[in-house]
């Protein structure tokens, strides 16, 4: 018997992983949550059938979401993390002793529970005393915040389904208000490769560019996401991601990473021509 998990990356492209066992499946108030065990990718989590993370390649996404802004901002103390119920972003953040407080806002409590039970490799730092979890729509939470955070990390699902509100202009505007005058926001920015994904990426980019004076995009290779080519947004009220970046200082921290390094930091902002063009079209 063969058991395969399949996600359609487009209506004509499928991505499949051979599954040893399905560990968990539930329909929460917001989405369907599944956890599988596989030989090639280890454990993996899907929401509504979309790949969220695998044990084998999650480090790429989580390191790139966290260390890029942390190496630019001179002193991050107060962080807001939106989504990220699996805990991967928090795991990277707690490596910084300067971080005093992490507010994590996840809409679906079940994602956190499931992650704590089945995904210890990402959820391991959720019990850190600096972490405070609120179960709420991120859009609602951030509406009430003003001049509060040094860094906001938006680890959302795709812009259809429960994460839709996190790709809107009102959300980015509310984040602008919630950030301090030198605050940074990093968001997952979808993929530029397949047509539908590229359109979603452009829509998100257009709305964020309208809200922040600095809005740059960087990339990473994530084998289990559609096309494997993934983008992140770096937006800020003050800091430029490569010009205001102090690689030496970050190296001195001695943080151990598997993907991120300070040479790659600068390189990640160098984008292929076709991606630059897609971005320019909406800037």
């Amino acid at each position: 018997m063969e058991l395969w998990f399949t996600e359609c990356h487009t209506s004509d492209v499928k991505f499949s992983i051979k599954v040893n066992e399905q560990l968990f499946s539930v329909q929460s108030d917001f989405q369907r949550i599944d956890v599988f065990e596989s030989k090639e990718f280890g454990r993996f989590l899907t929401l509504d059938g979309y790949m969220m993370l695998t044990e084998k390649d999650e480090f790429i996404y989580h390191e790139m979401m966290v260390h890029v802004p942390m190496a630019v901002h001179p002193c991050v103390k107060n962080v807001l993390v939106i989504g990220a119920g699996d805990g991967g972003v928090v795991r990277e953040l707690v490596k910084y002793p300067t971080v005093e407080n992490i507010d994590m806002v996840e809409i679906d409590e079940l994602v956190v529970e499931v992650s704590k039970k089945y995904l210890p490799f990402t959820s391991c730092a959720l019990d850190d005393e600096r972490v405070h979890i609120t179960y709420q729509d991120g859009l609602k939470y951030v509406r009430a915040c003003e001049d509060k955070y040094d860094l906001i990390i938006v680890d959302s699902t795709d812009p259809f389904g429960p994460g839709e509100g996190l790709f809107t202009k009102e959300f980015y505007g509310n984040c602008y208000k919630a950030l301090k005058s030198d605050g940074i926001i990093v968001n997952q920015h979808e993929s530029p490769f397949y047509k539908e994904d590229a359109l979603a990426m452009q829509r998100a980019h257009k709305r964020i560019v309208e809200s922040f004076s600095v809005s740059k995009v960087y990339q990473a290779h994530i084998p289990t996401y559609p096309s494997g080519h993934w983008l992140f947004g770096f937006s800020s009220k003050k800091y430029h991601p490569t010009r205001d970046f102090d690689g030496m200082k970050w190296d001195m921290l001695g943080i151990k990473t598997k993907y991120y390094n300070t040479r790659l930091h600068t390189g990640a902002f160098a984008l292929p021509n076709y991606v630059e063009e897609l971005l320019r079209d909406v800037e």
Binding site: R143, A144, T168, K169, F171, G173, K177
Partner: protein, 482 residues
């Protein structure tokens, strides 16, 4: 409800027609969509296959004897009415029918000045003469309210020959007059009560909402099923009470109604009626909850005022429809219409309307909390990015119109354009609407007085928003030629 509300006679007849694979040698010529592949691709085969003409098994809207008749009986039962007619020309056609069925040429009808345009247009058809009642207005909110019972009584006493009283139940903004009391005094004086319930379908299916016209004893009610009832746009229901002859009303309807009533519209009424009858209470409970949540979140932003039952004053605001999300934008320093445009242009959010001081967002069972979050967040952003110092408030005074000619006479009369400063004493040939509070200053057939001209100047200076006349700057008006 006495009948089995699970039944859907029109829907079931259409299903049966499909099962029997009837070969169509009748209209419509698209023949279940086969003759128009592009349209069929767009609307779907299911939709095209039931866009059919009246036939034996499907009954006939003009003279219903079988499934449509049965469906209308079920609707009457669900709404607590004596009789009900399915309307395929929108609630406008239902309002027209109510007026044509009660007021003949030259007869009077008492109505609030903030009546819907469709009612005044119906007067053009019937030749009836309007007697307007001052709807109180709220200066702070900049909206017209309901009719006070005393004002209605005064109009009735002054016009004992009037045939009917018309009531908005509720207004666009969700405000209700004391319709029970109005019915009582109108009936005492031998007048019929016509309710415009274009925004009140849901009143029939929840005990938390204001009283419905039929329950209050009104003689007619025009119910926009396609607004809060969930049916297709353009479908509507006309309800009638005990003392109305339905056969006469049907004759009136058939004067202007199509003889090819759409089965898409009719089946949507049938299916929606069943859903409301069986699940309405639960549905509107959810809508009330969503609207209240939205009000709380919007009021938390600051400066916006999403109002509710606290504005009730026992008379001209006798009750308030809590499913309505009306938000006053005055303290944000932005006109409602500006907020309306910003929501659409900047935030991809389409709301129902914006006037000078208010916006109205339509909440239904199709909304989820996450959409409410978007609306609240966008309003919060609009305040942060675009908020201004508030401007001076408008002092609105109600001017009693002098009706010199019926709307019908004024409509069909020869007209000429005259500079506004030279129009005093002439008879107006068009509408002049002023926002706030959204009621006409002049309607066709009314005398242009000095008081009115002064008011138009004052309103223009105050930056009021005026619509209606052909000349949008209102430098001239069309008047009835001598």
């Amino acid at each position: 409800m006495k009948l089995n509300q699970n039944e859907m006679p029109v829907y079931e007849a259409l299903q049966k027609m499909k099962r029997e694979r009837i070969v169509p040698f009748d209209v419509p010529g698209h023949k279940h969509g086969k003759a128009n592949p592009e349209l069929t691709e767009f609307l779907g085969e299911n939709c095209m296959s039931v866009d059919v003409n009246s036939m034996k098994m499907l009954d006939n809207l003009c003279h219903p004897v079988s499934v449509i008749k049965k469906a209308q009986e079920l609707a009457a039962d669900a709404f607590g009415a004596k009789n009900a007619f399915f309307m395929v020309g929108g609630t406008t056609s239902a309002v027209q029918t109510m007026i044509l069925a009660t007021c003949k040429e030259g007869e009077k009808i008492i109505m609030p000045r903030n009546v819907h345009r469709s009612a005044i247009n119906a007067l053009v058809l019937s030749g009836a003469i309007p007697v307007y009642v001052n709807p109180d207005s709220d200066k702070r909110l900049g909206i017209a309210l309901g009719m006070s019972v005393d004002e209605v009584l005064k109009a009735i006493k002054e016009n004992p020959d009037a045939k009917a009283v018309m009531v908005n139940n509720p207004t666009y903004y969700g405000i209700c007059s004391n319709i029970r009391k109005i019915v009582e005094i109108a009936h005492q004086h031998g007048m019929k009560v016509l309710a415009d319930e274009a925004h009140g379908t849901h009143f029939y299916f929840s005990d938390r909402l204001p009283v419905s016209a039929m329950e209050a004893g009104a003689d007619f009610a025009s119910v926009s099923m396609h607004k809060s009832g969930g049916s297709l746009t353009q479908s509507s229901i006309l309800l009638m009470g005990e003392n109305v002859n339905p056969d006469y009303v049907r004759q009136i309807i058939n004067l202007t109604q199509t003889t090819s009533g759409s089965y898409l519209l009719l089946s949507s009424l049938d299916i929606s009626r069943k859903n409301l009858a069986l699940n309405g209470n639960e549905i509107f409970e959810k809508v009330c909850g969503l609207a209240q949540y939205a009000r709380d979140e919007i009021n938390n932003i600051g400066d916006y005022y999403a109002y509710s039952k606290e504005i009730i004053n026992g008379d001209s605001i006798y009750d308030f429809d809590i499913t309505k999300l009306s938000v006053n934008t005055f303290d944000v320093g932005l006109a409602g219409i500006e907020v309306y445009d910003l929501l659409r242009d900047e935030y991809d959010i389409q709301i129902e309307f914006g006037d000078l001081d208010n916006i109205l967002a339509y909440i239904s069972v199709g909304d989820r909390e996450r959409e409410i979050e978007r609306l609240a967040s966008a309003l919060s952003e609009i305040r942060r990015r675009f908020g201004k110092e508030k401007s001076g408030m408008m002092d609105h005074e109600y001017i009693n119109p002098i009706v010199c000619a019926s709307p019908k006479q004024a409509f069909f009369a020869e007209k000429k354009s005259v500079k506004i400063e030279e129009t005093q004493g002439l008879i107006c040939g068009e509408f002049v609407m002023c926002y706030p509070p959204g009621i006409p200053i002049l309607a066709p057939g009314e005398m242009i007085t000095k008081e009115i001209l002064d008011y138009i100047n004052y309103a223009k200076e105050k930056g009021c928003f005026m619509t209606g006349p052909e000349d949008i700057e209102i430098k001239s008006l069309n008047v009835v030629a001598e």
